[in-house]
Symmetry: C2
Subunit: 478 residues, 2 copies
């Protein structure tokens, strides 16, 4: 008992200090650890296994829409980065510069990619000649570097892992369609696979990506009332194409500029999984991406037949599930806490009485409910419970988000909610950057997005009182 207590004590409670809770969980569950390199993470096996499961799902979805994977260099020559004006302004202040190769100073500095638009554009300008070469639907899985001043594991680190898709199309309509398609795929994966409900919308001019004509985003709500941008999809129009000279001969033999998009999801999403689903006992991992979907724990392990029967069950279940078998010397109670802390959706208990009754006990991580199921159809029952947990987690996350979503029609009300309750605040906006800036200064909340699903809360901007153009989700964000 002392040990079990200790494990939970090592995790600060959410309500006491959310940031510390987050850090404790990451450390305790061995998701990642800091390295000797400032702001860079070592993603440990359990954390990386989550990322691999997300990758597998995303990669499959991308490929189903015709996307092909490639690998671009990690370096960008300074002159190439400078080709598109808005883009370089957005990124140059936060890149790492390589100045020497071996013992020699380089004739031109190279930055470590903070994102790869410029490299894809350079390549596209070399390989796109005719309308027959279009569309190009490329993606890469890699890491990028942004020189951040303050860092937090998964949420903001100097180097992080992501995928970046970069496409080139013959028409603006096609680019627009792809931009929305990828946002919808991201939203679908978040909701169905990660059990994270998201708000889909468009970023304001101020918040959009450097060089984009429009940026779409999915925004999710954490347990502490802060929002997290969970994926973005950018439409570049022909801006990059003009800066990089990416032209094709159309069917009438005329030169046209391509229209481009890019879209990305990063290991930040693991931060979202932790902060959307976790509780004071530790992680809760959605069954579809949990590295361990169920753990088998023998009860009264030293009684005759227990080890044998549980090992048998393990061999049987591992054919269809990501299952683990813990026959270590630790006490069952210690193991219960350990796997709860690691967010394993289902614990399978099996002791002498269960063996006698030809049954096992399934324990649901979300609500700790126990179900006794017959060994004869344990696969079906296990799968059903995994599906149920997946749904329960989504429902709980949605309920939490709704409880943390408010509307405001006066600025006092708005400021109060942000200060007292946090969460998303829906409010009308005139469309002027000035108001956006004032709101940020007054409250530290930023515009999260102009949601695709608009509501009319009032006729006037919450900040300046001028006629309103959009309903906007506002909130403090990671």
């Amino acid at each position: 008992l002392a040990k079990e207590k200790k494990m939970v004590e090592e995790i600060t409670s959410m309500s006491e200090d959310f940031a510390q809770w987050y850090t404790d969980i990451i450390k305790k569950a061995e998701l990642c650890s800091y390295s000797g390199v400032r702001g860079c993470m070592v993603i440990q096996p359990y954390g990386y296994a989550i990322w691999e499961n997300i990758q597998k799902i995303m990669d499959k979805r991308f490929k189903e829409t015709g996307v092909q994977n490639v690998s671009m260099p990690m370096f960008i020559p300074e002159s190439l980065l400078q080709r598109e004006k808005d883009h370089v302004e957005g990124f140059a202040p936060e890149v790492a510069w390589v100045t020497h190769g071996g013992n020699e100073e380089l004739p031109e500095r190279l930055c470590v990619r903070p994102t790869s638009e410029t490299l894809f554009c350079d390549h596209y300008s070399n390989v796109i000649r005719s309308y027959r070469d279009l569309p190009k639907l490329y993606n890469q899985w890699c890491s990028v570097v942004r020189w951040e001043k303050t860092t937090r594991p998964f949420l903001r680190s100097t180097e992080f892992l992501w995928q970046e898709g970069h496409t080139a199309h013959a028409t603006q309509a096609e680019a627009e369609e792809r931009t929305r398609m990828m946002l919808n795929i991201y939203a679908d994966i978040c909701e169905k696979e990660l059990a994270i409900p998201v708000i889909k919308g468009q970023k304001t001019e101020r918040e959009k990506f450097a060089g984009a004509t429009e940026t779409f985003t999915i925004e999710s709500m954490m347990h502490d009332g802060k929002a997290l941008q969970s994926g973005t999809s950018h439409n570049f129009g022909d801006g990059f194409a003009k800066a990089f000279g990416i032209q094709y001969l159309d069917e009438n033999n005329e030169q046209q500029y391509v229209h481009q998009t890019s879209w990305g999801v990063s290991t930040r999403i693991i931060g979202a999984i932790i902060m959307v689903h976790g509780d004071d006992a530790g992680l809760k991992l959605p069954p579809r991406i949990a590295p361990i979907q169920a753990v088998i724990i023998p009860i009264a392990m030293h009684k005759e037949g227990v080890l044998e029967k549980t090992a048998e069950l393990y061999e049987r279940l591992k054919k269809s599930f990501r299952v683990e078998f813990d026959d270590s010397d630790k006490s069952p109670g210690w193991k219960f806490s350990e796997y709860e802390m690691r967010g394993v959706p289902i614990r399978i208990e099996m002791g002498p009485k269960d063996i006698e009754n030809n049954q096992v006990v399934l324990v649901n991580r979300v609500n700790r409910e126990k179900t006794f199921v017959s060994l004869d159809n344990v696969e079906t029952e296990l799968q059903n419970l995994l599906d149920k947990i997946q749904q329960q987690m989504f429902d709980a996350a949605l309920e939490n988000r709704e409880s943390k979503t408010s509307s405001a029609v006066t600025y006092d009300e708005f400021k109060n909610i942000i200060a007292e309750k946090g969460g998303f605040v829906k409010a009308m906006w005139c469309g002027d950057e000035e108001c956006e800036l004032k709101i940020k200064e007054d409250t530290t909340a930023t515009s999260r997005c102009i949601p695709f699903e608009q509501e009319k809360l009032s006729d006037v901007c919450i900040c300046c009182g001028k006629p309103a153009k959009h309903m906007v989700y506002w909130g403090k964000a990671y």
Copy 2:
């Protein structure tokens, strides 16, 4: 016909200029292209798909032995790189240095990882405490950077993709076992999946990895008589552990140093696939890793029923194979050359006559043999032919290697073979680095490995005449 001829003409013949043949194939098959960054490649979709298939196979094999994937930072602080003396000497002259983050000069330079021993050691020194924490069996898929003076696609580039496994063990025996286990897995994958026969052996002191106590290697033979090191596995003993202070408490509560290994295979292996299997018509890809295992080409496409039936066949075959369907307007002849050039193992032809006879024609890329098979069991026949081609490719590569392997007992003979015929030359060696250096100076051939399978060709060193210690494979190498 003119067009078909043109495609082959764009590829320089092997016998005329092997290096140009290699470059032509890579360009024509769109495997990779140079980027605007000196010595860095853009791996294009077809090339990357080969890498993904190799990754999938390797990753599965690694995980079956308990290996877990992680992600380490791409940067190494200069002081960390310098911790192990031999290691830094080997790598410091060829690394890229990051000196600035954003607009600020860094207090300490960071190198972009040329390999990650130092990072894994740093992490292991933080997380290994007791014998219960061992073994650590970590791997990462990433890119590394080595500032190369001359570069060639896949074979030698400033940045390249690879996997690097890094393990820590309680005992030297366990580390030795892991070093050999991984070499055997590499050899097995090369032979069974890539159809590349390899020589397994140990590197000499001079050729071993910087910081290793022993380096094992698999060496393969290219079409032009040059060898290619295709994978290496290193035993570090406790050298790194001592330099980085990686200790654990053993079962008797005593501090012990861990014993470590590392092992890697890179995108160089794609260069080997090209140069072991290709011919003047283009690539030949081993069925197990070919992105397209078979292409369906409709014959007399505009005749009634042809498009319909071939499309139907495509829908049917794509359930079990990586198959493509080319219903473009290009002539069948053009398509034949195109897919031969891209190394697709099997072409499936289907025209009006075939439809009438309920058959298709399978054409083998290796020998262009045609087989008529019934539509009723096309899946079985296709799989059989893929397996047969896989074996034929291995057999041909082995035959080629044997025809390019010689033995020498006098130094004149040795020098003659290297100069005239190339390939592997087996010869006895006294074990002195002096002779190794002299041989390199005289012939440009290097010791490829001391093969595990030793033969006694004579009693004395081929170079100095002193008593021989080992039989060594020598050769010019990529």
